[in-house]
Amino acid sequence: MRSVFVLFLVTFAIRGVVDSQKTDSANANADIEKQILKIDDEKDHAMQRYVASHGQAGGAELDQIYADDLVFVTTHGALLSKAQRMEDLRSGNLKFISFGRDSYELHVYGDTVVMTGRATSEVIYQGKVNKVPRRFTNVYIKLGGQWRLVAHQATTISEQ
């Protein structure tokens, strides 16, 4: 009888510890998601400023957020480095008519976050207007204590 009681107590205690660990982990992930959404927002604002000013403003913020070995795949399937992406934004190839993003989904794996979403911005890219929504994936990794965008890919949505 006594051993049954002890077993019950031990099981109860273990369950408590496991539940508490789960809650801690969920809270930590929720906190990371908040941080990523904030950084992604900052990136978008810096990008719009950088584009509008032809590289005169917002560059320092973008440089901080884009990882040095960023891989960036455009909706045309072109693979750009960080320097190429910055040049693309600065050059006037891209203009925003309106800016919008929604339907975010984030998956946290420790110091790696995979973020997917839908971009609804209307843009003029290389002289052509694009109003078709795009699906994107952003990969953020914590490097030297800072969340950096290491990969981005966008795809035009042709099927819902």
């Binding site: 070995d69 891989v71 795949v73 455009t74 909706t75 045309h76 399937g77 072109a78 693979l79 989904e105 998956h107 794996y109 420790g110 110091d111 790696t112 995979v114 997917t116 929504p133 795009r134 699906r135 994107f136 994936t137 990969v139 990794i141 490097l143 290491v150 990969a151 890919q153 966008a154 795809t155 035009t156 949505i157 042709s158 099927e159 819902q160």
Partner: protein
């Protein structure tokens, strides 16, 4: 202490530090090379399973929370993606995928590449090359495929798709 003596000590310290740093860089580079090899072998298994519709192998490799964005911009879960192969809605007329480029960040690997397979997707054949980004994360000691996105290559610098043309 004479200037010469200080210089000798400085040179010895610099040489020692540079040796230590060099030794640290080498294992990191060889670790990354080892990870690239592991990921490439998993990619080979995955690609083989995709062609055979082998759900068991795909379920092992795909992370439970896989987010898969196909070339039409549609988001698929692990279950959705496996179902496509089992049901036969995705069939390969030919299979070619390569030009892999790796970026390793500890337990995360970001892989970009090009697919020039001819694929029958829901009854329509696609021959346009696709650029993809895949993300692998080591979970409980196993590399898992947690994210993938594909985009049709409609505008790319000359020579960029050499892999498909060879």
């Amino acid at each position: 202490m004479t200037i010469l003596r200080r210089l000798v000590i400085w040179a010895a310290l610099t040489a020692t530090l540079s040796g230590v740093l060099g030794a640290q860089e080498q294992p990191a580079a060889s670790q990354d090379a080892e990870i690239e090899k592991e990921i490439l072998s998993i990619e080979a298994l995955k690609n083989n399973a995709m062609q055979k519709g082998d759900a068991k192998v795909l379920e092992e490799i795909y992370g439970d929370s896989l987010i898969f964005v196909n070339a039409r911009g549609k988001v698929l879960t692990k279950k959705d993606r496996v179902k496509e192969f089992v049901s036969g809605t995705v069939k390969y007329n030919s299979f070619r995928q390569g030009d892999y480029r790796f970026h390793i960040y500890g337990n995360t690997a970001v892989v970009t590449g090009v697919a020039c397979s001819v694929v029958d997707y829901h009854g329509s054949v696609n021959q346009t090359p696709r650029r993809f980004t895949s993300v692998y994360v080591k979970l409980d000691g196993h590399w898992r495929f947690v994210a993938h996105q594909a985009t049709l290559v409609t505008d790319s610098p000359p020579g960029d798709l050499q892999y498909c043309n060879n």
